[in-house]
Symmetry: C2
Subunit: 341 residues, 2 copies
DNA sequence: CGTTAGCACTCAAATCGGTCGAGTGCTAAT
DNA sequence: ATTAGCACTCGACCGATTTGAGTGCTAACG
């Protein structure tokens, strides 16, 4: 257990380092108006904090910087969440006012304003269709051999993909099939579509037309892989403004990782609900072992929809970012909940 | 007009510099097996070439590097286009075999393989709907006040957007409207849709239902801004591997520019057909004044569809990239032409 | 006994002078 | 016209020195 003074000194060091990106010395802390001890006293405490693993020294004659463990303690016990800046709050409010209608765009726009407000990189995992249901299914023939399958969700989200039409299927058959599917599948959650397709539709279908198994394959193609959420990225280059990343080689790995959508998906998929803070090596991916990732989930009526996240250096403005994500995720939850009804 | 020897020396310097990224001296050129002159002779020629503005000297005691003008001369007169490497050709062939069906994905995948083959950044401006025609229009009500408009092009390309339904319009009205629109608008090129909507549909519409002007507004909303092509980007971080961009500040501007889709659109929109090479300051955007951009358009039956491009340092492997873009753009044109019929 | 002043010590970063060598331009010989 | 020779230039590199911020330890102080 840390003493009150140790906590205060640790806080001061983390705050200072977050601001300046330079090792913090005992002198500069003792000069703060809220600190009444001499540099020597601070030094003693700093030595203790280092022994506890909360601080580190880049080299003997430098000041201290927080260790991963130090940041962790700071985030868990010391942080005081200042509210959201009035200007940021206004930005977000106008965002919701404006984007109520076009929400496909809303998610990517959320990423944009997040990165602008924080000057870090923002990553948003789009509204999953996982818990949404099918509203309408359509199959539009383009020519004799191929067609576009269009899938509309109850949320207004639309997906489409090209499929090839099995031989021996006529236009009238297709209409029958589409009608049958809309009849049987409307209202079914996406993640159950494939199962229901087999259990309910297959039998019925065989009565109408031949080539049943080919059609089934086509229909499966139409709906599979559509449940994948999308990843939106913004401000990827903000990392370049951070002094600890002025070396190109360090940055390369991070930016490469950000270009790989599947990696990001994987990273975000294993996250629990609520606000999560992953500091440095706490992250699963080695590429961002020098970064911190803060994430918040949003949902509608208790159903998880997606995740918004901020990626920055370990020396991140934790307080500000956590407040912001908290605010935005709650508002997004509210917005989507309203849409659901 | 340059002498044969000057042309040979310029070629040698550009080739060497492209390979090594270091100023080329007279000695290293004279050592090449295909050069039979002494360093002193080469030096004299180099001085002349510098006077003509084709070469530059970073400082007095360094070798020469090509100037913008030098690269330009090289690209216009000296370059010899080696064919495409067998491995690259195979990559592209398998790409076409595999991606014939899903071509929404095809364009982004083309960007990916381009950046992988070249180790530069690839930018692809997706198949424009500008010259494509409407295949089918659909309006799916979500609730009483909003609906999803779905637009299918003859290419199989699908766009959708949310619209709000004017008051006093019932389900049956909507069906009538959709039928009318499909009747009148099918086969019309996208860029004429709005005009035809006013000239052909407006009158007819007023006979069916009231609130005609509100509906017109809604329909306009449904189809406008859908003609925008999409930008696909791949290998943005490849620029970081270039020695001339090991300084973060230089790279920041470029990567920032790449994140701004509208800027890229604008950049690509003003490009003429065929293969274009823009070297350094020849580029309109200041952010890429240290880069070269090579672009090639692809089309179908003479109608421009999109542009594929490679962005790299001015010290780019022009020969290789031009061959590659030429090959790929022709194949894409072929592929899309086959699709058209 | 906790706190603090004083001091010797450490070490990265900046500064400086010197050397090295790749490359040039010019001149004179071939 | 070509080339060998040579003096010259200038960035890159190297090592030595200085500087200064910051520490740890000890002894003095209230």
């Amino acid at each position: 257990m840390l003493s009150e003074r140790q906590r205060m000194i640790l806080t001061a060091i983390v705050d200072d380092y977050i601001r300046s990106a330079e090792p913090v010395g005992s002198r500069s802390i003792s000069k703060r108006s809220d600190v009444l001890f001499s540099p020597a006293t601070i030094r003693n405490e700093m030595a203790d904090l280092e022994e506890l693993g909360l601080l580190e020294q880049p080299h003997t004659s430098a000041g201290r910087i927080p260790s991963i463990k130090g940041y962790r303690y700071y985030v868990d016990h010391l942080i005081r969440l200042g509210g959201v800046k009035e200007q940021d709050a206004r930005t977000m409010r106008s965002f919701f006012a404006e984007k109520m209608m076009h929400w496909e765009g809303a998610v990517s726009h959320a990423a944009t304003i997040l990165s602008q407000m924080t000057n870090y990189t923002s990553i948003v995992l789009g509204p999953e269709m996982f818990h949404t249901t099918l509203k309408h299914f359509q199959l539009l023939p383009l020519n004799e051999t191929s067609a576009v399958a269009i899938i509309v969700a109850n949320t207004g989200h639309v997906e489409h993909r090209n499929v090839s039409i099995p031989e021996g299927i006529g236009m009238d058959d297709i209409q029958k099939i589409v009608n049958l599917l809309n009849d049987k599948l409307t209202g079914i959650p996406f993640f159950r579509l494939k199962a229901v397709l087999h259990s309910e539709v297959a039998n019925e279908l065989s009565r109408y037309v031949d080539h049943c198994e080919h059609i089934m394959t086509m229909l499966e193609q139409s709906i599979e892989e559509e449940t994948e959420p999308k990843v939106y990225l913004s401000g990827a280059t903000n990392i370049l403004t951070q002094p600890e990343f002025k070396d190109v080689d360090k940055v390369k790995g991070i930016l490469d990782m950000l270009e790989e959508t599947p990696k990001l998906m994987q990273l975000f998929h294993s996250l629990p609900e609520g606000i999560q803070v992953r500091i440095g090596t706490e992250n699963a991916l080695e590429a961002i072992n020098q970064c911190s990732l803060i994430t918040a989930t949003f949902s509608a009526d208790g159903q998880a929809l997606g995740t918004i996240g901020i990626l920055g250096p370990t020396r991140m403005e934790y307080g500000k970012v956590i407040s912001l994500l908290n605010y935005l995720s709650k508002d997004m939850t509210q917005m989507y909940s309203r849409w659901y009804k």
